[in-house]
Symmetry: C2
C-alpha cells in the first residue's frame, strides 16, 4: 500500500484520507440472503465451505460479482480457531461446543497453535481470493477475545451469558489465563491473514454488549487492546466492531482500532462525537433492509447526512445481514451510498 | 402524600428529597427465584395468580415479608391489557398471541376498555395489597406503548422485531393509530391503579433497545410522553424504565418520567450526567446476583459510590431478577444498600 493515492476508497476511508464516494460493504454480505449461497449450502455444510479454500473463495466473491461493493470479506466463521484449540465444534444449526471451558484446568488444556497449521485453509482461501478479486480490497477477520471466550464457556446459545460472567467474575485468574490464550491466538491468526493477503482486518466483538461498562473495562478491554496493538505493526487498517456498546463507547474506542464499528442504536454523529477523530463504520439497522425502498432510502440518507463530509466514514450495517433480506434492497443501498459525490 | 417529611424513603427519593438511606427494590422481586412463589405456581398459572386479587396480593407480599425492601410492586403481567383489547393471550411458557396485529383493520378491531371492567382484578389486588402493606409503598405498573405494541404485532418471541419494525416503518398511519389506542389504554390503566391505591407507577419499555435513535424519536417517544404527561396529574411519581437505551438516553429521558430507569450497560454517574437533574433508578447487572458475595458486594459498592450523595437515587437492577437467582444474594444486596447512612 505504498501508493495511497491509488488505494481503493475503502482503504483510504479507513485511513481518513479523502475519497470520491463513501465506501460501502456489509457484514455477512456473503450469506443466506443470496440465492447463489443457498445453492452451495444445499451441497456443503458451513464448515465444509469454510474449510475448502476454493469454496470459501467462491462464496466470498458472490456478492462482489453481484454488486459494486467496496470491499470483500473472506468467508469464514469466528469460531474456527476454537477447533485447533481443542474444542469440539458442531452446528445444530447454531454452534454447539461439546467440551466447554468451565475451570482453570479446562483453560490449561486449550492448545495454542500455529495459524498455518490449524487454520491453513483460511489463509489459503485469502491468498486465492485476493488473486481473484482484482482491485477490490479483501478484509480478514476474527472474533474478539470476549466473544470467543463466551462461546467457549457457554458451549451453546445463551440469553444472559450467565456462565461467562460467572467465570469472568469468580475465577479472575482462570479468566485472565483464558483471555491471554485467546488473545495471543487471535493476534497471530490475524497477522497470518495479513501475510496471506488480507488488506484490512476486522475484530468482531459481537456479544460485548451484554457487559457493564465496569466489566468491559476490567475484564475485556486490556485483551482487545492487546490484539489491536499487535496488528498495528502489520500496517493494515484494523476495524474494531461491537454491538450494544453505546453505554461504554469511549472505553470501547480506547481499545485502539483504526476504525470503530457501531451498531444502529445510536446516531452516527453522536457516536462520532464521542470517539473523536477516528474512522467510523456503520450504522444502518439490518432490519431496515426488509423495508420498502422509500423507507430504506430515507434511513440511508439520514446516516449519510449525519456523516456529512467528514473523512473516515465507511457505510455498513450495525450488525450482519439477516437471512431473508431481499437482495434488491442491498443492491439499492450500494447505489444510494455511491450516488453522493464527495470530491 | 401531604406530609412528605413522613413519606417513605422510596417516595422521597423519587421526588429528589433527602433520605436517610438509599431505597432499594427489585424488578421481578416477586417471582420464580422465591420458594414461596414456586410453591404457589405449582397450583396456579401466571394468569390465575394475576387475575385473583388475593393471590396477586399474596405474591406481592412474599418478598416484602422476606426482606426489608423499600417498595412493593403489584404482581401482574405487562400483557394483561391486551386481553380486554381483544387479543387472545396464552403462555406456552412464553406469551403467545393467536390473533396478532398485522394490518390497519387489525388495529381497528382492537377495543378500548374501562380499566375497572377489563382489569378490575388488578385494581382490586392493588387496593387489597395496599391495606396489607402498612408503611411500605406500593408501585403499580404497565408496559409502555412500544413494548405492548411489539407483543401485539410479533404475537410471540422475536429476535429482531422484524414484524414490529416493518409495521412501524411501512404502515405509519396504522402504527400511529395503534400507538394512540395503546397509549390511551395505558394512561387510563395507570391512572386507575393510582386511584386504587398505587403510590407510584412504573412504565416498562423493556424492548425499546432494539430501536435506532431515529426510530425511537419519531415512532415511539411521542406516545410514551403522552402516557407520562397523563400521569403527571395523578400526583404520584412515575418511573420510566427501559433497557438498551444508552444510544438515545437523552431522548428517552425527554419523555418526561420523574425517575429514569437505566440498565447495567452504562456507568450510573455517566447516565446521570446525560439526563441531568432527575431521579434515577438502577443499575446492577442481574447476572451479578449469581456471583459470590465478595464480587456482588464490590459491584453494589461501585454503584453506590457512583451515586454518591446525590438526591434522587433508587437502587434496583438493570432488568428483572432472573429465575434461579439465589435469594440470599438478594437479601444481602438490600442489607449492603441500607448499611450506608446518608443523613
Amino acid at each position: 500500500m505504498a501508493n495511497l493515492q491509488a488505494a481503493p476508497r475503502f482503504i483510504r476511508a479507513c485511513k481518513r484520507l479523502p475519497v470520491d464516494r463513501t465506501p460501502v460493504w456489509f457484514m455477512r454480505q456473503a450469506g443466506r440472503y443470496m440465492k447463489e449461497y443457498r445453492e452451495l449450502r444445499k451441497k456443503y455444510s458451513i464448515l465444509a465451505l469454510a474449510k475448502t479454500p476454493e469454496l470459501a473463495c467462491e462464496v466470498t466473491l458472490q456478492p462482489i460479482r453481484a454488486m459494486p461493493i467496496d470491499a470483500a470479506i473472506i468467508f469464514a466463521d469466528i469460531l474456527l480457531p476454537i477447533e485447533p484449540m481443542g474444542a469440539r465444534l458442531r452446528f445444530a444449526p447454531g454452534p454447539i461446543i461439546d467440551n466447554p471451558v468451565r475451570s482453570a484446568s479446562d483453560v490449561k488444556r486449550l492448545k495454542n497453535f500455529e495459524p498455518r497449521e490449524g487454520l491453513g485453509f483460511v489463509l489459503k482461501a485469502i491468498t486465492l481470493t485476493r488473486r481473484e478479486l482484482g482491485a477490490t480490497p479483501l478484509i480478514g477477520f476474527a472474533g474478539a477475545p470476549f466473544t470467543l471466550a463466551s462461546y467457549l464457556i457457554e458451549g451453546g446459545p445463551s440469553d444472559h451469558f450467565l456462565k461467562t460472567k460467572a467465570f469472568m467474575l469468580e475465577q479472575p485468574k482462570a479468566w485472565d489465563a483464558l483471555m491471554r490464550k485467546v488473545r495471543a491466538i487471535t493476534a497471530d491468526y490475524l497477522k497470518a491473514q495479513v501475510e496471506a493477503g488480507a488488506q484490512a482486518v476486522q475484530l468482531f466483538d459481537s456479544w460485548v454488549g451484554c457487559l457493564s461498562a465496569d466489566q468491559y473495562r476490567r475484564c475485556v478491554l486490556p485483551h482487545s487492546r492487546f490484539v489491536l496493538a499487535a496488528l498495528k505493526k502489520s500496517g493494515v487498517p484494523v476495524i474494531h466492531f461491537g454491538t450494544g456498546t453505546a453505554g461504554f463507547l469511549e472505553d470501547f474506542a480506547s481499545a485502539g482500532g483504526d476504525v470503530v464499528g457501531v451498531d444502529w442504536r445510536m446516531d452516527l454523529d453522536a457516536a462520532w462525537k464521542r470517539i473523536g477523530p477516528r474512522a467510523i463504520q456503520g450504522n444502518l439497522d439490518p432490519t431496515l433492509l426488509f423495508a420498502k425502498k422509500t423507507v430504506l432510502k430515507a434511513a440511508v440518507k439520514d446516516i449519510l447526512s449525519r456523516a456529512g463530509s467528514r473523512k473516515g466514514f465507511i457505510f455498513n450495517l450495525g450488525h450482519g445481514i439477516l437471512p431473508k433480506t431481499p437482495v434488491g434492497n442491498v443492491e439499492a443501498v450500494v447505489d444510494w451510498v455511491h450516488e453522493r459525490r464527495l470530491n
